[in-house]
Symmetry: C2
Subunit: 199 residues, 2 copies
């Protein structure tokens, strides 16, 4: 796969953190997905929204649309996603997300996913092989320590070297072990959907 080369990871590199809100399980339901543009691990520059089908197959398409239609397209240098799925088992194909936006992607997992369990769960879907292939497409799981004494993160990458991905993750994890764009995307996405679900 092609890889974008970073000559230098600037302190204020624009990073898009993507996370989903909470959602109600069930066929046809939608889950909100938000993108937060950050300058490095430092301050917020913008926000974008989309929504995807719970347990559907439109996550990659909708996230590509959200990004290319946003005024931040052309400025965002890297995308960080919360794992490989949104809205249940709607798989984000990070290789395809990279190919279609030409922005490198780093998927972060809080702990090492149990692929055996993932595969077992996917087998509930008639199209499980496509979903499973998108998961395999994300490639090798790389362990990263953002802070001494804190648990490591596990990342998968598309369109970026391990070394550059690691540097971006470590530099942007300024307030916790999670990169700031993703931490804040999570705060906002859960806040919005909690508010909406209790209305």
């Amino acid at each position: 796969m092609r890889v974008v080369k970073f000559r230098e990871i600037k302190r204020e590199i624009r990073i898009l953190g993507v996370d989903d809100g909470s959602f109600i399980h069930g066929k046809g339901n939608r889950a909100e997905v938000i993108g937060v543009v950050f300058r490095g691990g430092h301050w917020m520059d913008g926000i974008m929204f989309t929504d995807i089908e719970v347990d559907g197959t439109d996550a990659t398409d909708r996230i590509v649309e959200m990004i290319v239609n946003s005024p931040h397209m052309g400025q965002v240098r890297v995308i960080i996603t919360d794992g490989l799925t949104v809205g249940g088992f709607n798989v984000v194909d990070i290789a395809s997300l990279f190919e279609r936006t030409v922005i490198p992607v780093i998927a972060i997992a809080d702990k090492k996913p149990d692929l055996y369990e993932v595969k077992k769960a996917l087998k509930n879907f008639s199209d499980w092989e496509n979903r499973w292939n998108s998961i395999l497409n994300a490639g090798e799981m790389i362990k990263i320590n953002t802070h001494k004494d804190l648990n490591p993160l596990y990342i998968q990458i598309a369109g970026i070297s391990k070394k550059d991905a690691e540097e971006i993750i470590v530099k942007s994890a300024t307030r916790s072990r999670i990169p700031e764009p993703l931490r804040v995307a999570h705060l906002i996405a859960s806040g919005i959907t909690h508010h909406r679900n209790i209305l």
Copy 2:
């Protein structure tokens, strides 16, 4: 009026920035209001939501409710609002907001409001005198320069000394002339409502 004394303005003092999203004019319509909890001018700690009637009179009540029912009550040391109105002419009575939350309030205006024009517009409402009294209740307009070479801000305060308010505004305006909690509340509120209005 009682004034909360700050022995020291800590770098990471918890500040709540409150702003409204865009809304559609018309009787009975609602406008979204969000609160963003920040540590000083540095990083985001939480988010809260409410909604108020466009051109209604429930802003103070709903914002008090939003704050006292949030898990951040007891931690937020100061509230910063974007001016004295949300959702059109729904006036936030900052003196009452302070009395009912016991959290000092600073209302910020980007430029000096033209009180003659405000009064003229308020006269379209049958209860204009109540609204006008809430505006007068906010007291003196104080000019503050957060950054040399940038335009000043104008603030009104409740429950806090001029000196403490000025220090909080200057210290939290880390990325622009606007305090970071309010800048980010504005980014999120406009983003959410833009998204919703085009859905």
